[in-house]
């Protein structure tokens, strides 16, 4: 059993590899029984000495799903509650409330993310309403055949959120949307202009548009950080 892993494990990056080390002399093992002893300054390190399923977790940015079938800004479907029932046999998600799906911004073909369910968390695609269309008054939807559900009664506090549905990376077309918000899409426009000017040998214009590109990147980040700070006032300041 692993414990105090934040103090005992270290990693080192070597090209496209990650090397994992564990501190020797940790509370889990004694030095006599160690294997693969390594030395780093005054701390001795060794290779990991236990199996941990899904033990290594790497968070990273990647070029994933660059194109989506619906614009990022219009993917606004959202609903939460304890009303959802899941039927495995026909992949139904029921709410018991007419128009629930329509009223919460969902429609046929939307990709949804389910969170909070006991056994049906994950991403699915809505096939359509059951009995009537979603734009009609459907209270129940069915999912595409790619989804697998587990029977579940209402009760769990579940959130369903619409997420952008990726276009296949190999075949985006002119109607595909860029998987970015409006500000970053405008930054991409600047980037493409910069590349066009670079091809023409107009380096000054390329530099201008690259500056605009990074400026919009910075704007996009700072827009998320418009927070105000409150400072407590000392009671001695009261007059």
């Amino acid at each position: 059993m692993s414990s105090y892993v934040d103090k005992e494990y270290f990693y080192y990056l070597r090209g496209r590899e990650l090397l994992l080390y564990k501190l020797l002399g940790s509370r889990n093992r004694t030095r006599i029984t160690q294997s693969g002893i390594l030395q780093s300054y005054h701390n001795e390190l060794m290779y990991p000495d236990e199996n941990i399923t899904d033990g290594l977790r790497i968070e990273y940015t990647a070029l994933n799903d660059p194109f989506i079938s619906e614009s990022f800004e219009s993917s606004t479907g959202y609903g939460t509650g304890t009303i959802f029932t899941f039927t495995a046999s026909n992949r139904y998600i029921g709410t018991g409330i007419n128009n629930w799906w329509k009223d919460h911004g969902f429609s046929e073909g939307d990709k949804i993310r389910i969170q909070g369910s006991t056994s049906n968390d994950g991403e699915h695609i809505i096939s359509g309403g059951v009995g009537t269309s979603i734009s009609g008054s459907a209270s129940t939807i069915d999912l595409t055949s790619a989804s697998t559900l587990v029977d579940e009664s209402a009760g769990a506090n579940i959130t369903i959120t619409q997420v952008p549905e990726p276009d296949t990376i190999t075949s985006p077309n002119t109607t595909s949307h860029i998987n970015l918000n409006k500000m970053l899409c405008l930054a991409v426009v600047d980037y493409v202009k910069a590349m066009i000017h670079e091809e023409r040998g107009e380096i000054d214009k390329k530099e201008y548009y690259m500056k605009e590109f990074f400026s919009k990147l910075a704007d996009n980040e700072s827009n998320k950080r418009l927070v105000s700070s409150a400072f407590p006032i000392s009671p001695f300041a009261v007059r």
Binding site: F10, L38, G55
Partner: protein
């Protein structure tokens, strides 16, 4: 914004080239900011030979946000520190 709209705004005619530029731009955005994060999980092995501590970084990775290890005693992933230099090997053999 659709690819067509971007092509009209920039005056680019070649769809394939436009798509390539867009991917390049997203790559650069992901390299400079954290627009979209992915998670990769791998099993940790009980090392039995000299390369069992080597794990492959995700092939589609642009930049690492953090690395953590599952603490099975309280079922939480805990961030671990990066070594700035590779440790000096005393013994490569796993059974010294």
């Amino acid at each position: 914004m659709t690819i067509l709209e971007l092509m009209e705004r920039t005056g680019i005619k070649n769809e394939t080239l436009a798509i390539a530029y867009i991917k390049d731009a997203i790559h650069l955005i992901q390299s400079n900011t954290k627009e979209k994060i992915k998670v990769n999980k791998q099993n940790i092995l009980n090392a039995s030979d000299s390369d069992d501590n080597v794990y492959r970084l995700p092939a589609d990775m642009i930049s690492i946000e953090n690395v953590s290890i599952l603490d099975t005693s309280d079922k939480r992933y805990k961030r671990i520190k990066r070594l700035s230099g590779q440790p000096h090997y005393l013994l490569e053999d796993t059974q010294p």
